[in-house]
Symmetry: C2
Subunit: 183 residues, 2 copies
């Protein structure tokens, strides 16, 4: 599959200034509290630009705790080897898949997906290691939480990024977008 | 000692986008290579604003590898319980101290220091835990290195920050300044 026909893989995520996407127990109170008067931070525009979402089990289970399903009618793939149950209202919208990043992107590309929204620390890390992330939009929340689930993980090689743009908001959120250049 | 008379403690540091200040072996090639056409990024203005530097042994030993001593005539305190030797040309400029953060800041305050430049991961972490960092200027280099010495460490409590300003440069460096609000 040539690069032009491959599904573009995009990350759009917030972390604490010390790089965590959640507390050790998965808690995101530090983000929700910071976000009470939060801006949209470009989320809607980003969301509207993707054909589908791919996330890990942790992210999926966190989203199930929300008052409502936030992804409308977009197809969602949950990457998990252990998950088997699915709430009735999500059958048809959410698929469980245990493919490798390469296999999944090949399938999504053949299905005609132009761009997917990749979410969740472990999933993002495995796609980065596979060289399959195209761009990252990272919003830094002005708080240090000291421990938790890190966005980034170990790599065999450096990954160079091309900075595209940065903006900040009155609530102190700072958002930078990068294109992944490669190893 | 009241807050008004206490030495202000400032951090001015660069990390990879994944939050490391150095590779596991202390290497900063990823920073030096990125910085070949680097801007000053406000370093001189910051450096001119401090009375003294406080750093850990790792940072000190890294600086000794440089072609020349970069801190001019500014007093430097190296916080170390193990370091005993000092190059001849630095006697008088560099003091070794094994005080706690609180003790050191009390001494520097009594000496009339208005603002110090705190450098090095372990030292910054211990001052943050002691509630003794006033502001942080963090320059993010557009690269993921996957492992290394992290800037931030474990905390007992969240530390809230007030975002002051953010700017970016053509080389992709993104610099944000924060005031430490507290726990």
């Amino acid at each position: 599959m040539n690069a032009a026909s491959r599904t573009k893989v995009s990350v759009f995520i917030a972390t604490s200034l010390d790089g965590f996407i959640a507390r050790p127990d998965g808690g995101i109170d530090w983000l929700m509290n910071a976000g009470e008067d939060a801006e949209d931070c470009g989320y809607k525009e980003f969301f509207d630009s993707v054909d589908a979402l791919v996330m890990g089990r942790n992210s999926f289970e966190k989203v199930l705790e929300f008052d409502h399903w936030p992804y409308q009618e977009k197809p969602v793939v949950v990457l998990s080897k252990s998950l088997t149950e699915m709430p009735d209202n999500l059958r048809g919208l959410v698929k469980i898949d245990s493919s490798s990043p390469e296999e999944l992107i090949e399938k999504l590309s053949l299905d005609g997906s132009k761009r997917i929204y990749l979410d969740g620390g472990n999933v993002i890390q495995s796609f980065l290691r596979a060289g399959l992330v195209d761009d990252i939009t990272l919003t830094k929340i002005p708080v240090l939480i000291g421990q938790g689930r890190p966005l980034f993980g170990e790599l065999q090689y450096d990954i160079k990024l091309q900075h595209l743009s940065t903006q900040s908001w009155d609530n102190g959120f700072v958002q930078s977008s990068y294109e992944v250049v490669g190893s």
